[in-house]
């Protein structure tokens, strides 16, 4: 068993898996069930200034594939709707009951220095290991000038981070919204404000679906709907990109990263760590399957590390960051061709039709006495991978590099040679 302990912003955790600030971390009962299941930490559901908010009935919508698999959830729930003091007393109790687990207090407040500072102090006093600034909620709270309304303005990100840093002596995580054009701008602002770490991504603004009977966006609240925060495995690619940008940019070096965004499996976790994440937060996956998935997350990550010979998280953290480059740094001479294994091909024709209709007409069909035979025309294949992705048979289509003897040449180099 590999060592799954991790360190982020100076906080040591028994494993990198924390529950993100969301309904699963709303109260003592849920949090203790999570700890019993094996989660390393939680970010308590965001606390605000009393009086607490009121939530609506009907809060979640989902995006499904044709097989009813849930790809993403969208929610219109606000922050904790329980009194601050109730939450803080519960946090104190859980800290006592679970001394080896991490609790981070998530907070938000209107943009007033005093409100931020008072709330941060109260939360810190409950014994949390750190404070996370929720600057990302893209629904409801932003209409009151909080959440993403702050996160989208770098100056406000810096100010709120600084205000909290000034009054607490525990690590500060600034949670970023992905609803922005360049994630580096708020990340740099967080760093300037003194954040020890950034947490990202918060949910994406979305309308998850339209109820065609009610003619309203879902979830429908008495005939009306609103945009909500989108999360789940569908947003993982967006999160990976944003994490990688922060991890590889010179301007944001020194920021630890608590990665969030569709982490569902140990493989997702390993990918975020490979791109530079120090620790991870999970929400949607437990909202779909319950806390028990921590077993597979822990064991899967450990088994992967054992198989690869990584003894600790640090051994492979960021290994993919250096291979994450700009398009202009890619080798233009690299040449791949698809190869179809005719022994395992089940003759569905999906590779042919997607190539024929939408790509490069590089897969032919020949009807023989043994059935249909699909063959790649190397001269027309551009190595796009589409056939491989649509093929239902594992490893039936592979991509083989062509040894063309050409050097690694980037577009700018070729462009120079061409005299452009």
């Amino acid at each position: 068993m590999a060592d799954l302990r991790c360190s982020i912003a100076g906080i040591e955790s028994i494993n990198p898996f924390w529950l993100a600030s969301a309904p699963p971390t709303d109260k003592q009962y849920n949090v203790e069930r999570a700890f019993e299941a094996g989660w390393g930490g939680v970010v308590w559901k965001t606390l605000g200034v009393d009086p607490p908010v009121v939530n609506v009935s009907s809060r979640y919508g989902v995006h499904k594939d044709l097989g009813r698999g849930i790809i993403g959830i969208n929610n219109i729930e606000l922050i904790s709707d329980r009194p601050l003091d109730v939450n803080l007393r519960e946090i104190e109790q859980v800290r006592k009951n679970w001394p080896d687990r991490i609790i981070i207090g998530s907070m938000m407040a209107p943009v007033e220095e005093q409100l931020w500072k008072e709330l941060a102090i109260k939360i810190a006093n409950s014994g949390v290991h750190g404070i996370e600034l929720n600057l990302g909620c893209p629904h409801g709270m932003c209409e009151r000038g909080m959440g993403s309304a702050i996160g989208q303005v770098p100056e406000l990100v810096e100010n709120t981070t600084r205000w909290v840093r000034e009054v607490v002596d525990i690590p500060v995580f600034t949670k970023l919204t992905p609803n922005t054009t360049d994630i580096l701008l708020p990340a740099e602002a967080a760093l300037k404000g003194g954040a020890h770490a950034v947490a990202l991504i918060n949910t994406l603004n979305s309308i998850i679906s339209v109820d065609l009977d009610a003619m309203a966006p879902t979830p429908v609240v008495d005939g009306k709907g609103t945009h909500g925060g989108y999360c789940g495995s569908a947003v993982k690619p967006i999160a990976l990109h944003m994490v990688a940008e922060i991890a590889r940019a010179a301007e944001t070096q020194g920021l630890d990263i608590s990665a969030i965004g569709g982490i569902t499996t140990w493989r997702d976790a390993a990918e975020f760590i490979a791109l530079g994440a120090n620790a991870l937060q999970v929400c949607t996956a437990v909202m779909l399957y319950g806390f028990k998935i921590i077993e597979d997350l822990n064991e899967g990550l450990s088994d992967f590390m054992d198989a690869k010979g990584y003894k600790s998280i640090e051994d492979f953290r960021g290994l993919a960051t250096k291979n994450t480059v700009n398009w202009n740094d890619l080798n233009m001479n690299y040449d791949l061709k698809a190869v179809i294994d005719k022994d395992t091909c089940i003759e569905c024709g999906r590779c042919h039709i997607v190539c024929e209709d939408t790509s490069h007409q590089a897969i032919t069909i020949e009807t023989t006495e043994n059935g249909r035979e699909f063959t790649v025309v190397d001269d027309d294949c551009v190595g796009c991978n589409l056939c491989l992705h649509v093929c239902p048979v594992p490893d039936c289509i592979t991509m083989e590099p062509v040894d063309n003897g050409l050097p690694y040449q980037t577009w700018p180099e070729i462009s120079t040679l061409r005299g452009e």
């Binding site: 097989g67 089940i346 003759e347 569905c348 024709g349 999906r350 249909r372 239902p392 048979v393």
Partner: protein
């Protein structure tokens, strides 16, 4: 009810309730969760092999995708536009040798999509919920076409002709339309009087008149129809039951399996049927299996199906043979009946064991007797061609060209009475529809 029959718990006779249950749907409709699960597994193959395997060429990937995207009425229209008897075919087709056999998932996941069950889901949904017929007739052509036989071929032909704007007069010898769908398929495949329901659905398009009790040769001649109609379609099936040609066939208790099935299909109270303790069925096709399984489901103690060749040569599909075994039918291969023994009533059937010698079937000389209270013959049917002497008949079937036309211009034929492929409902539907399209071309051309 499912593939397993209810048996007596006390050792006594089955209760009427148990018997009713035994004749309910062999395969109950899929529930919504099953529908979604199967529909979402379909790979949406390009130029899908399942379509090629269907004699009516239903666009199967398309209708399954329509189900998966919650357009079930659209799915039903896709099915019915290719095969107006999609409902019966979903229930009775041997999908294991047609579409489902060709499903590419047989190779990959070792289990095909449940195409038949999904088809039933879609068609039943439309038939149960649509307020109007899904297809509209084209403008009236002023032509009237005669169809002989209201079985699958005749009804499919009539429907397509009506859709194209022709009027159709269907002559049916029996009291009800539907042909083998009504009289000849196992009851548990057509539960809920489905054949009658489907006939009504098909004729609801309008322009189709069915005259029952009208037999070719007795009530009208082919020439009458040629004289009075713009074209004629013959879909009379094969109605002459083959004999075994052995001694004792005239004993009481010896009858045709199809007559037995018809009795089951037409009775209003299954518990009044009593085929006796020991039923011997002779034959190896799906009709033999249908009769044997239904006999078991009526509560008969010992049902033996005897076939003169082996399992491989049986006309019944492997799936049908398994169903018989599951239902407690004893199957004796390599057994040729040589005599039916009894005085007045059948008492036993004497068989000779057979073997293949250099590809030819021959008796071994070994004899054995099977006790029999009744004997059901399922050794095939032949064409009654007495009133068709103007047509070319070849190897016992009406000769037709690629368009379905017989040797007489304007007279078409399809279904079991021609040699078009397997003797299956779905093939008859394909024949009827294709002939209709060709007749339309001829009449409007």
């Amino acid at each position: 009810m499912g593939e397993l029959l209810k048996t007596s718990q006390s050792g006594g006779k089955l209760s009427p309730c148990d018997i009713e249950a035994n004749f309910d749907d062999l395969h109950p409709p899929l529930n919504d969760q099953q529908v979604n699960s199967w529909a979402s597994r379909c790979l949406f193959c390009y130029d899908a092999p399942c379509i090629t395997a269907c004699p009516t060429a239903i666009d199967i990937p398309r209708f399954i995708r329509q189900i998966a995207t919650d357009n079930v009425i659209g799915a039903a229209k896709t099915i019915l536009s290719a095969n107006i008897m999609g409902g019966t075919c979903a229930r009775a087709c041997p999908t294991e040798i047609l579409c489902e056999q060709q499903c590419v998932l047989n190779t990959g996941e070792q289990e095909p999509i449940e195409i038949g069950a999904l088809q039933r889901h879609a068609v039943d949904h439309l038939m149960d919920s649509a307020k109007t017929h899904p297809f509209k007739r084209a403008a009236n052509t002023g032509k009237t076409i005669a169809v002989i036989g209201a079985g699958p071929a005749g009804l499919a032909c009539a429907h397509e002709l009506a859709r194209l704007g022709h009027d159709v007069m269907v002559f049916e010898a029996r009291a009800k339309a539907g042909g083998l769908n009504e009289y000849g398929l196992a009851a548990y495949k057509m539960a809920g009087d489905f054949a009658a329901k489907e006939t009504k659905f098909i004729t609801d398009i309008g322009g189709i008149t069915i005259k029952t009790g009208q037999a070719l040769g007795r009530d009208f001649s082919l020439q009458d129809l040629q004289d009075n109609y713009d074209a004629v379609f013959i879909g009379i099936g094969l109605t002459n039951m083959r004999n075994l040609g052995i001694a004792g066939e005239d004993l009481s208790g010896v009858s045709n399996a199809l007559d037995f099935i018809e009795t089951i299909r037409q009775t209003s109270d299954l518990s009044t049927l009593d085929p006796g303790e020991d039923v011997v069925i002779i034959g190896g096709g799906n009709t033999a299996i249908d009769a044997a399984v239904q006999a078991k489901r009526l509560g008969v103690n010992t049902v033996t199906l005897a076939y003169r060749r082996g399992a491989e040569q049986m006309g019944a599909t492997n799936w049908e043979q398994d169903l018989a075994a599951k239902n407690g039918v004893i199957i004796k291969h390599w057994a040729k009946p040589v005599e039916i023994v009894g005085s007045g009533h059948v008492q036993a059937v004497r068989f000779e064991r057979t073997q293949l010698l250099d590809g030819a079937l021959s008796g071994t000389g070994d004899m054995f007797d099977l006790q029999a209270g009744s004997v059901l013959k399922a050794v095939g049917q032949t064409l009654v061609s007495d009133d068709l002497n103007v047509l070319d008949i070849r190897r016992g079937k009406i000769l037709v060209d690629a368009s379905g036309m017989t040797s007489v211009a304007g007279v078409y034929a399809g279904g079991d009475c021609i040699a078009s492929g397997e003797d299956l409902t779905v093939q008859a539907v394909a024949d009827g529809k294709n002939s209709a399209l060709e007749m339309h071309k001829m009449l409007e051309g």
